[in-house]
Symmetry: C2
Subunit: 201 residues, 2 copies
């Protein structure tokens, strides 16, 4: 899919691709930008430990960028499954019961996918500090943009987790997922703030 | 360009596309998502005034999404011009003077383009409140993601304005551009907060 097609699809009144996909793509752009910064020749002499920290960040960020790209597609698929479940027949009691089960199952999928996006974005941000501390200073604004995009991705995906959780009847799953979402977004906020502080210094 | 190609280009050690382009694309995704929300059938009965506010937001947001897409390309071009100027010959005094002028001219372009991105993102956010107040509630998380992406776009582009300003010798241009950047990012932050408050209610 071209970037122009993605933007047109986001603007169309079709429900997918929607915010969950856009959040994951923003996260993939952020992780990719951090990968770029790890690949630039250094403007100051890093110690071996600092080089190892940057290389470690790169090794972690490359698969996270791929994972976030994949989650962009999975998000649309999981929301399409919810809409398909709502369209199931509901003429008889058996059909109603089957439809309710299908909706619950699909909604569970539509919370697990954006939760994975929150997790991947938070994970990428946790490697951001090594990049902003030891990366090339001339790319400081690239690293700063990357952290901002990953933070927006984590927060946006968390909003999607929460809106889909409201329809779920399984209270244990709901409260566990809500707690995990809160934990990850708080972690992402703390790591983003730490990374941006070292970008400026 | 496909999304996969964009992500690969962001991850490559080539300086462009970089953070300015990623910020503009994130802004274009945000503006496109807001356009989507204005196009959804309403779940509550909007008054004629509310319908007019939504239609007005849509009419403003569609060209802003296109403009942000265009700025994504312009950002890479403006930074390529800076690098080309730095590569000019500097053997003689005349060459040195010409190179300095070319660098200053190119840096000025490389601040004007991300400043336009800040402006377009801030402008899109200013229409976000009509969308979050009168749009379909089932798309509340899409609108929330959109505002977050536009805010990250404005802040990210502002970081690019500032890093390129540091190399400029024209102090009047520098302080005027810095003031305009600060004004626009503060406006964007205030409008984003207002839009997100009405998303939640």
């Amino acid at each position: 899919m071209t970037v122009a097609q993605l933007l047109a699809a986001l603007a169309s009144p079709e429900p997918t691709p929607g915010g969950g996909t856009a959040a994951a793509i923003a996260g993939a752009m952020g992780a990719s930008l951090l990968v770029m910064v790890t690949g630039l020749a250094k403007s100051r002499n890093n110690t071996d430990d600092e080089k190892a920290a940057l290389a470690g960040a790169r090794a972690a960020l490359e698969p996270l960028a791929s994972r976030l790209t994949e989650l962009a597609d999975l998000d649309s698929a999981s929301f399409n499954a919810v809409m398909a479940a709502y369209r199931l027949p509901k003429a008889t009691d058996d059909e109603k019961a089957a439809r309710t089960r299908a909706i619950q199952e699909a909604l569970r999928g539509a919370t697990i996918v954006p939760l994975d996006t929150v997790r991947a974005a938070a994970d990428a941000i946790s490697h951001g500090r090594a990049v902003t501390e030891h990366g090339n200073r001339s790319a400081a604004s690239d690293a700063g943009v990357a952290i901002g995009l990953l933070k927006a991705a984590a927060d946006g995906a968390a909003a999607n987790v929460r809106i889909n959780l409201t329809g779920l009847k399984d209270e244990i799953f709901r409260s566990a997922t809500e707690a995990e979402t809160a934990r990850l977004t708080e972690q992402a906020a703390a790591h983003a703030a730490a990374a941006l502080r070292s970008t400026i210094s």
